[in-house]
């Protein structure tokens, strides 16, 4: 039926993590995509558009999840989107090499009664594991179209898109699968009740969620008809009495039963001869002894690469941009040259060169499957800091630069775990802090004092991490993660992903860095530095026992922590700090610099990952903590 104006279509991609969802997303949308956040949430939202046969198609990549049980924000967002916003078609991407687990999620999507199609992806990986899947059989069981694909090679994706558009146009809703008799009976009864009330969700789905005791749905239904909630509860109790398990577990187990049945009937498994590549790699990389040197090696390689490449790029950009900055003189000129351009230079020459290689390597490691192995090896160590294995990589990266480290904390599942991890990471002394500690304390007081400061820092991280773990509200799940098979990273996806992440970071961080720089330069041009330094002297001189001039340096350090040392040299007129500061003052100064504030770029990263409120809490806490610790150190050291 040809029409002149073709209606735009919305496609949502849904599936488990590690099934090749982003590869398909990239294939469909190319560079016409943008990553933002879901309104009011810290969850990433990736959207893109494509034009297909004279039609505009919006593609939305939902977060990779294993269930729709609403225990995580990602799950809540996904099901709200599918049930309420109603995309024209959902493409459920299924990993052919782990069919049963993936079908469990498919069954939950079917419950949402939306137009749907399955992309049976990674059939090549499945074949490697000796699994062949009979597509017509699978299609028969699910009663929706199934297209087999190999996304990394682009195989089957055009066919998939074609079929998806067809399903979207037909508006044919998927039908939920049937469960066991006992459960079906209960679902039927509750569904009957739900059908009588006005609600935007499919009644059967609401009934299942009420039986599962889903908090969100109970609240929504409770506002309309509280009696319905309690009668669903009674039905749930009945089931619990029979099975001796919570009802949500009973239904989960039942879905898995059905998934298992479908998987068994539609796949044939011939166990491959000899261990797979993943098994052989795992034998080494998670080996109780060999695994650790490998881990250390990988980490050193990451740090080394990020810092050599970063250092090189940084120097290059600085050389290019310095002369431009020098061209501006005078009051207003300095505001532009020193403030605006200075901020831009700080962003381009200091932050970007390190972010770029970091993201590239992180994405590469993520794609290869090594990250979960690293988390596995270090979980027990990280537990002592109130976080778990997944935070290991961000933690180590913190020693290089806190910015990518904070951004890396998104791998933590719950908001609470993400917050603790980001907090711990900002306490790690980055390379700029190292410059100050080594250049001041190490060079003029003694290297053992510098090392002592690092040791103290580790102790403090362990203590504060644990305290945060104890006082922060919310649930900590502990480590529960999938160990996806190792695979060769897909170059195009890695590059694309890196590009999107860098772009995203620049949008958030650069305005902050530039505004901060302009404000500070404005203070300098306006001659306000001295008054501010004096205003701060009760703290700097009175409490910390430092010269009044350090107040100004600490303020500039917000921009870049190594600036504190550079300014110390310029303002004091000497690089021989021993002539202007006592050893005690040096140690106190280094301690304050170590903790007092995440630099402005790190604050930007915190804002991005945790939003303003938590970023502000962390910042204020660290300022107070640094001053407290500095003051105590001053008193202890002068006592001795």
């Amino acid at each position: 039926m040809p029409t002149a104006e073709k209606e735009p279509i919305t496609i949502a991609l849904a599936g488990n993590a590690n099934v090749g969802k982003s590869v398909i997303f990239n294939y469909f949308t190319g560079l016409h995509q943008h990553i933002g956040n879901w309104p009011g949430k810290t969850v990433e939202k990736a959207e893109g558009t494509l034009h297909f046969k004279g039609r505009t198609i919006d593609v939305l990549d939902l977060p990779g999840i294993y269930s729709l049980s609403a225990f995580s924000i990602e799950e809540r967002i996904s099901r709200e989107y599918i049930a309420i916003e109603k995309p024209d078609v959902v493409i459920n991407i299924v990993d052919a090499s782990a069919l049963e687990r993936n079908l469990f999620f498919t069954l939950q999507l079917l419950e949402l009664e939306t137009p749907m199609i399955v992309a049976l992806n990674q059939v090549d990986v499945a074949e490697g594991k000796g699994i062949t899947i009979h597509v017509p059989e699978l299609q028969k069981f699910l009663d929706i179209p199934v297209i087999s694909t190999i996304a990394t090679r682009g195989t089957g994706l055009d066919k998939l898109l074609n079929k998806a558009v067809k399903v979207a146009k037909s508006k044919k809703l998927a039908r939920p699968a049937r469960y066991g008799r006992e459960i079906e009976e209960k679902i039927r009864r509750v569904t009957k009740l739900v059908e009588k009330i006005p609600i935007k969700y499919p009644p059967r789905w609401v009934a299942i969620k009420l039986l599962e005791g889903d908090e969100e749905i109970r609240k929504i239904v409770g506002r309309i008809d509280p009696k319905l909630v309690s009668s669903a509860e009674r039905h749930a109790r009945d089931l619990e009495r029979i099975h001796g398990e919570p009802c949500s577990i009973i239904i989960t187990a039942e879905r898995y039963n059905v998934a298992n049945k479908i998987a068994r009937k539609s796949q044939r498994i011939t166990p491959p001869r000899g261990p797979s590549l993943t098994e052989r790699l795992d034998a080494v990389t998670t080996h109780p002894i060999m695994g650790y040197p490998i881990l250390i090696g990988v980490m050193l390689l990451v740090l080394f690469t990020v810092f050599t490449v970063g250092g090189y790029l940084s120097g290059f950009f600085e050389d290019v941009m310095e002369p431009i900055q020098g061209a501006f003189g005078g009051g207003a000129g300095e505001l532009i040259g020193g403030g605006l351009l200075g901020g831009l230079i700080a962003g381009v020459a200091i932050v970007l060169p390190f972010i770029l290689p970091f993201y590239l390597i992180l994405t590469f490691l993520e794609d290869s499957g090594y990250l979960p192995r690293a988390a596995f090896m270090t979980d027990s160590l990280m537990h002592h800091m109130g976080i778990h294995g997944k935070a290991f990589i961000p933690f180590i990266l913190g020693y290089g630069c806190n910015v990518p480290a904070c951004l890396g904390c998104r791998v933590m599942e719950t908001e609470r775990e993400r917050t603790i991890a980001a907090f711990v990471v900002t306490l790690v002394p980055c390379a700029a802090v190292t410059v100050v500690v080594l250049g001041l304390v190490g060079a003029f007081v003694g290297i053992h004092w510098a090392l002592a400061l690092y040791l103290l820092n580790l102790v403090i991280i362990f203590i504060l991490g644990r305290v945060a773990f104890k006082v922060l509200p919310g649930e900590s799940m502990g480590l529960i993660m999938e160990m996806p098979p190792y695979r060769k990273p897909h170059a195009r996806s890695v590059l694309k992903e890196t590009w999107m992440r860098v772009k995203d970071f620049v949008y958030i961080a650069f305005p902050l860095i530039i505004i901060g720089s302009v404000v500070l330069t404005g203070l300098k041009v306006g001659g306000l530095l001295e008054p501010i330094g004096n205003a701060l002297s009760p703290i700097t001189v009175g409490w910390l026992g430092l010269p009044a001039i350090t107040g100004v340096m600490l303020i500039f350090g917000i921009l870049r922590k190594e600036l504190t040392l550079v300014m110390l040299a310029t303002l004091m007129g000497t690089a021989n700090f021993a002539t202007v500061l006592t050893p005690t003052q040096m140690i106190v100064f280094a301690i304050v610099v170590m903790y007092y504030i995440p630099c402005i770029a790190t604050i930007a990263a915190l804002v991005k990952e945790l939003r303003w409120k938590k970023a502000a809490y962390i910042t204020v806490f660290e300022i107070a903590f640094a001053l407290l610790l500095g003051g105590i150190a001053f008193r202890l050291l002068t006592l001795a």
């Binding site: 090499s97 619990e240 009495r241 989960t252 187990a253 529960i480 993660m481 999938e482």
Partner: protein
């Protein structure tokens, strides 16, 4: 005659050992929610009666006589918990009641209840029930999930990843320093922290 309090202590120490934690005065006191001072007293007494070896500040180790009792009581406790939960009692009561009942259930009644709740063929007479936490499995050992204890969030997350009752799981390997366990379930590999794994109870195959 063994007193209930002796049984409670041996059960607690056995439970700690199963979790891979050292049984010190502090940890035992925490487990039983009593004052450390009274624990020290009792541990000395138990050592004198030949249930365990006691070294001040280092903690205790069970010797066979004590181990047998601790294991038996803990097993009875778990079976009673499972049994009570099938009656639809609130969670808060289940643990408390099981703590009471574990001391009064004769062995043959325990076996009968075990058969009832696990729905399996009668066990050979005298054979111990073999429901243990996942953490006590060796590498490459298989088990069938009996039940998952603990918080709702974690148990639902585990169920979502395929760890539902009656599912077979294999421990692939466990990391050093009480690190996580790598397990294989439903054709996928997962890593779960030791704290989480200690709440997954399996029947050993």
């Amino acid at each position: 005659m063994i007193t209930e309090s002796v049984e409670e202590y041996l059960e607690a120490i056995y439970r700690l050992r199963e979790r891979g934690e050292a049984a010190t005065t502090t940890s035992v006191a925490k487990e039983l929610r009593v004052a450390p001072a009274s624990v020290t007293e009792m541990l000395k007494k138990l050592a004198n009666q030949g249930y365990l070896k006691y070294a001040p500040y280092r903690g205790v180790t069970l010797i066979p006589k004590g181990e047998k009792i601790g294991k038996k009581i803990l097993r009875k406790h778990r079976i009673m918990e499972k049994f009570l939960s099938t009656l639809g009692l609130p969670k808060s009561r289940i643990h408390k009641d099981a703590c009471e009942l574990e001391h009064h259930i004769p062995d043959d009644l325990e076996r009968a209840i075990h058969q009832k709740v696990e729905g399996e063929k009668p066990l050979p007479s005298g054979a111990p029930s073999n429901v243990v936490p996942l953490t006590s499995l060796l590498d490459r050992q298989k088990g069938v999930i009996s039940f998952i204890g603990g918080g709702r969030g974690a148990s639902q997350r585990l169920a979502d990843l395929g760890l539902t009752p009656h599912t077979e799981i294999t421990v692939v390997k466990s990391a050093l320093f009480h690190g996580p366990l790598m397990i294989s379930v439903r054709g996928t590999t997962l890593a779960i922290g030791r704290g989480v794994a200690a709440r997954v109870f399996v029947r050993v195959k």
